[in-house]
Amino acid sequence: MAKNKIRFQKRLFFKNQLKEKNLYFGKFSDRDKSYEQLMFLQEADNLFSQRKNLDAFEKFLLFITDNKNENVRFKKDKKIEFDIVQGSKIISGYTDGKIIKAETELFSFDEDIPQLYQILLEQTHNLKFTKFLVNKNVISAQISLYLDYCTVDLLYYSLRELSVISDKLDDYLELQFKNLRPLNKSHIIQMPDNEFDVKTKYLKKWLAKSLELSKKLDNANFADAKSFILISTIYRILYLIVPEGELDDMLKDLEKFFFESQKSTVEKNKIIEEKLKNVLEWDNQRLKKSLYKVIRTFPEKMPSKTKETISFIQQEIGKIYWYESNKFEEISRYILEYIAGYIDAHFGNIPVLNDLFLIFWQVMYKDYFNDLGINRLPYEKNSISYFLLHKNFSIINSTARENYPRFFFNVKHLDLKDKYSFAKTFFQEILNIDFN
């Protein structure tokens, strides 16, 4: 975890609108911590080294608390009792200064399900701190640790592991085992009707358009192109619509299947197309179970090095040129979106990169943002606005220089004649940035 001091960050002005409407995009990240939060982290670290465990843990909880979202609640007297919200789960625990125990109830059941237990016991083998258990007729996930051998990093890691795995597994298992009764889900926030309608509309629109384009291409000769179209559409949905539950699991499974399966690209494309086509048939009732709001405390992905992101861009961007020179610009555009989507899905990026990519998606899908009620977009009369982009990137540049003194995203290098030119030059400019 970075312990760099971050001074007050000037907000990109569209971000205020996002906060007002409780809109969020992309994978949850907790790297945007305030200066105050980072000070709590340092205090926790110092108190742990003095073995003032209870006080240290209190500071740790303050570090992970995002006041606006009310993701953490606790009370302290001779011990600390706490609740942490992570997606569809609440993790409850306590510490007396000697040990810490945290648990989340997942399901209740009428009859034992050995197949489920096998999955959970095998999952436990791959985890460092979390175990799954059955108490009477309730299945839970739990950690327990001696605080005397804890450091701040270990506490963060263990609570994160418990939180993320519980949040991830419960939706998946609920679909696989119909006899389970989910517990601990009353804090899920229903999406406002307007937002639900917009997201549903664009979900189906994007799927239909991508599937139609993919269908037009020859299976064998354009297998790679079809893959880019399908996978980038998955990434676009994950980033912009931010589904939960069944839809989220399904899209991530398809993505994982694409990269890990030994089948041919042609076969993989066919399977993915079929699955995506089915989503077009989902009615609103089924979609509501995947389109809701949650609060998170911990990110799914741990921070990764910026050079990994840059290497990935360098590796992939070359793929657009063949399609561009053979007049398949639309496919090149899908490739660029694929790059942006992959980066969000697979890397735990620094805040400045997250902000850059948010601008990227706003330019590429202005209508979607408009329909969600975001009007502070870098457009003037339907054309990408150099002036408004410059304002945004100036804020990003000045904030980024606090940690990266030579950081400079030069808006003058962007070609704004159309979205494809913008996207291409956007990535080319990222490769010019000095992150040292």
Partner: protein, 337 residues
Amino acid sequence: MNFDELYFVASAWNTGNAILIDGYDFLVTTTETIGLSNYALIINGKEKKIAKVLLADFKTGIALLENVVTTNSLLNILNFELSAYDQKSVAYQKNLFNKLHQLNCEIVKKDEGYNISTFEDYHLNDGTIIFGRRGEFLGLVTKKNEKPTLLPAKYIMKLLEEFSDIDKESVRCLNCENIIEKNQIINNSCPFCNNEISKEIIEDISPKLDETARKIETLLIKNDYELKYCRYGKNLWNISRGSASVFIRYNPKSKFIAAFSPLYQIKNNSSLLYKFLMRENAKLEFLTFSLHKDMIYLDTPYFVADNFKTEIADIIFKELFRLADYYDDVLAEMDKE
């Protein structure tokens, strides 16, 4: 084939496999497995025996160990020619739980030797035996910079022939390439060519451990364990008491330390055992039951090297032992048909 003539081997440097070949009274492994040690641990089921290194031949990469096992099972070598390149072959190896794995692999000739790749997501260990599709013994795996290559059978057989007449602790002079008995070396010089023989290949040298690994070993010594019988490579230790066996693993990159005990391989009543384990997990304070490919484990939570407190680790490891000893019998009883 159960390959009883294949053994799991551990030294202070590494782990691997060793084989016993019909007609020769030496265990054959690789120099990568034994490193700069003068002894290795031969593990045969729950039995551990110390074997002297008779020859660590850094020219060929082959190491010969004292035969400390009593067995009638010897690898019968019929053909040992690598008759074709780009050969599809089969690898056999034993893991640290003495389980035999069979893996399909492919051998490809490159300038620097024969590379081996597997089709499965599994690592090849040093000393793994490779057979061709017609049953011919092709050689052993040796790993240089983590890349598995083939130590061809003809070099192994040639060395065995060369060494049979010597049969004493020896080294090879890398200058004149003669094999010299250690007791003939005076002032670290080769009696044939007078070239200096490095102390490293004569003496018993253990790898340098970092502070955390040293703390773990101090804890083991404090509990009366002999390190010679515990070291499974640089950052893995195994301690046994009664029927319980505990592994302590340290990862210097991630800085995590964990201990686990493989308790029982499920044979019959998996459903009953799963139900039992999930309920027992609710009763255990800091330990956890987990499952991997039908093997039940009892695990401790991970420690971090930065704050590794041996007093607390001692308590938790002792608890792990106590419960491992108790539960392995309970599980076996529950799994009876």
